[in-house]
């Protein structure tokens, strides 16, 4: 199986740094270097750099690009100015989620960059092509041509401005980007991330990404793996496709309705979401805080005190920053209200918990 795994442009540098490698989204990716806790804390208190070259870059252009992206995307791109980014989902007609993604509005009219999850690149690309009948658009999957690093943490602005030489990045606000060039090759610097901290995601061709990775590591920016990427995004209340969003979990169930604009004239899945909002959904995603240190893991049952099963854990950790056992769980809507007592079965025992807000950690974005 292993020889079917893809490698990012930084793969040999991870091995050189002694990273623990593991398959993720079809790629052989670094899970950790110095340790998940150490890397997690570096991002919360200083800065860390992640290889996110596995993410997919799909460019949409053509006379109908705006109308097409609006058709397949839940958020409202119609008033977007160049240099802005929006988060949202692509949905199936029944409201299930194809993927969650970022849409970048490029400076040229009718040009968009869609950044999608690694594991979904082929599925998304096929999905987009299937939906494009009747639209005059070009759908260009450039995922293999781009490398990407994420520099995250309170010291990330200084690192990007001085170490990488983008002083203009300081004026970027959250969810905006800079479209520029280095040695004649295109570079995108966006103030985005998946950690709950201030940070940047930088897209460029592979050789440039390798050079910047080396520069950042040499300057003492901590290399960070997917292990802490998951603990960081979890604390910040951010979903992971496959766990909190799936073909069976709609954004309404996941509590992400704010990224689905039902006042848009149309988008795929709109009617289903409108019905879910009007009629209610059977299950909702909640946060649960446990009183004990035992760790809830994906798949563990959520129960009432009498043992009745009412849900399942989707992601759980003993939170590194908050030092509490926390999880996301999909539970029957009757038990989704804040403050509801729920129990989680962990091996042979059950542990008492309470429904809390999913954003466990106070995020620090540059607004």
């Amino acid at each position: 199986m292993e020889n079917l795994l893809k490698q990012t442009c930084l793969h040999d540098l991870h091995v050189e740094l002694g990273a623990k490698m593991s398959p993720f989204g079809g790629y052989d990716m670094p899970i950790q270097y110095s340790g998940i806790i150490d890397e997690h804390n570096a991002v919360r208190h200083a800065a860390g750099v992640f290889d996110v070259s596995h993410m997919g870059e799909i460019f949409i252009s053509g006379p109908d690009a705006e109308r097409f992206v609006s058709h397949i995307f839940t958020n409202d791109i119609r008033e977007m100015e160049p240099g802005k980014i929006l988060y949202g989902m692509m949905l199936y007609p029944d409201g299930g989620t194809v993927d969650d993604l970022l849409v970048y509005r490029e400076s040229e009219p009718q040009h968009y960059l869609l950044v999608v999850n690694a594991a979904n690149i082929d599925k998304d690309y096929t999905w987009m092509q299937e939906q494009a009948a009747g639209f005059d658009v070009r759908i260009d999957n450039q995922s293999d041509a781009w490398g990407q690093i994420a520099v995250q943490g309170p010291a990330s602005e200084k690192a990007v401005c001085t170490l990488l030489g983008f002083p203009e990045a300081a004026s970027l606000t959250f969810y905006t980007f800079l479209d520029t060039e280095r040695e004649g090759r295109r570079v995108i610097v966006s103030r985005t991330g998946y950690t709950g901290e201030d940070g940047f995601e930088i897209y460029a061709e592979p050789e440039q990404i390798r050079a910047w990775w080396r520069t950042l590591i040499a300057a003492g920016i901590k290399p960070c793996g997917l292990g802490c990427r998951d603990t960081l995004r979890f604390e910040a209340g951010l979903p992971l496709y496959g766990d909190e969003l799936t073909a069976e979990i709609s954004p309404v169930m996941a509590g992400l309705s704010m990224f689905c604009k039902l006042d848009k004239p149309e988008f795929i899945g709109k009617e289903a979401l409108a019905a879910q909002k009007a009629d209610g959904v059977a299950r909702k995603l909640v946060g649960i805080e446990l009183a004990d240190k035992a760790v809830p893991r994906a798949g563990y049952p959520v129960e009432l005190e009498d043992g009745t099963e009412v849900g399942v854990v989707t992601t759980g950790y003993h939170s590194i920053s908050l030092e509490k056992s926390l999880c996301f769980a999909l539970v029957d809507s009757a038990y989704a209200a804040l403050g509801t007592p729920l129990w989680i079965r962990i091996r042979k025992r059950t542990f008492a918990g309470t429904v809390v807000k999913k954003r466990f950690y106070q995020t620090n974005y540059k607004k």
Partner: protein, 125 residues
């Protein structure tokens, strides 16, 4: 390369046993702690619990995974290392100093089923 302490007995599920008369002191090997990464929680049995060899008696939790602890011998739990409640990282720091439980063995012949250091070295690779 993980350390394997001489003079201890080992299970294939990576617990170590130090024999003190009819008492087995039980921990996990350096190989196991290295595989787990940062240990954040140790789920321990209660005092006086009766364990059967091969049954799980608790678990280690790291940031990323859980791993069940398997009783290498049968008997009664007569002590637990409560220091691990607040400092589970002691297992990462020195897996052979950070014992987890002490068991009053009901059948010391079960020790014969365990591995010596040399045999365990073949398992922990």
């Amino acid at each position: 390369m993980s350390k394997i302490a001489e003079g201890l007995l080992y299970s294939e599920s990576h617990e170590w046993v130090k024999v003190d008369g009819n008492v087995a002191i039980v921990g996990v090997s350096d190989f196991a702690q290295a595989e787990m990464g940062d240990i954040t929680y140790v789920d321990m049995p209660d005092l006086d619990d009766e364990l059967s060899a091969g049954d799980d008696f608790g678990a280690l939790e790291s940031v990323k995974t859980s791993s069940e602890l398997i009783a290498p011998v049968s008997g009664k739990v007569i002590a637990r290392n409560d220091e691990l409640e607040d400092k589970p990282e002691l297992i990462n720091e020195d897996a052979y100093a950070a014992w987890i439980i002490k068991v009053e063995m009901s059948d010391t012949s079960e020790l014969d089923t365990l591995l010596n250091a040399a045999a365990y070295a073949e398992v922990a690779k």
